[in-house]
Amino acid sequence: DARVTQTPRHKVTEMGQEVTMRCQPILGHNTVFWYRQTMMQGLELLAYFRNRAPLDDSGMPKDRFSAEMPDATLATLKIQPSEPRDSAVYFCASGFPWGGTYEQYFGPGTRLTVT
């Protein structure tokens, strides 16, 4: 049963601390997405990669957020320094184009609380 895995599932940290979230996409999927979900803003696309190369990170605050794919089995999202407004659930999703469609498979999310 192929799934996207994310770690940690929950993270509580103090303002100013560095936060790193990790994602293991489904084997064989060539595209990885990072989303942030809040009650106010809904699902926001932060960044996405295809074949490990960043395609679009326009949704990400560049001064504090960074996203990388050091290899095909690992994607990371880093926040440094973290702020209370970063509190949200962060989802990773992976996908593979099939027949012109583009289903995205979501991980369980990382719930981040910045105090």
Partner: protein, 112 residues
């Protein structure tokens, strides 16, 4: 601006009733319209999707109706069940990048 507008924001339906969620879009280049279902504490999961060359797609109790001229599509849940209580998102995409443009979601509660 919101490229995909979803309504209503929340919906309460009695068990056995029909749930209807609507979405409207602006970009006529969109060519794939999925609906995702999200349960509390979980990530969204694809429920059903449609392409604009058909006007309707049905999978079990779930149906997408698509109106290309009106630039609208809707999700119908027939015989709604308490287990259908979740948040539903419509989305749209086009082009080579296949980036999904999301609606803001509809929280559905089905009363037993």
């Amino acid at each position: 601006q919101q490229q995909v507008k979803q309504s209503p924001q929340s919906l309460i339906v009695q068990k056995g009733g029909i749930s209807i969620i609507n979405c409207a879009y602006e970009n006529t280049a969109f060519d794939y319209f999925p609906w995702y279902q999200q349960f509390p504490g979980k990530g969204p999961a694809l429920l059903i999707a449609i392409r604009p060359d058909v006007s309707e797609k049905k999978e079990g109790r779930f149906t997408i109706s698509f109106n290309k001229s009106a630039k609208q599509f809707s999700l119908h849940i027939m015989d709604s069940q308490p287990g259908d209580s979740a948040t539903y998102f419509c989305a749209a995409t086009q082009g080579n990048n296949r980036k999904l443009i999301w609606g803001l979601g509809t929280s559905l509660a089905v009363n037993p």
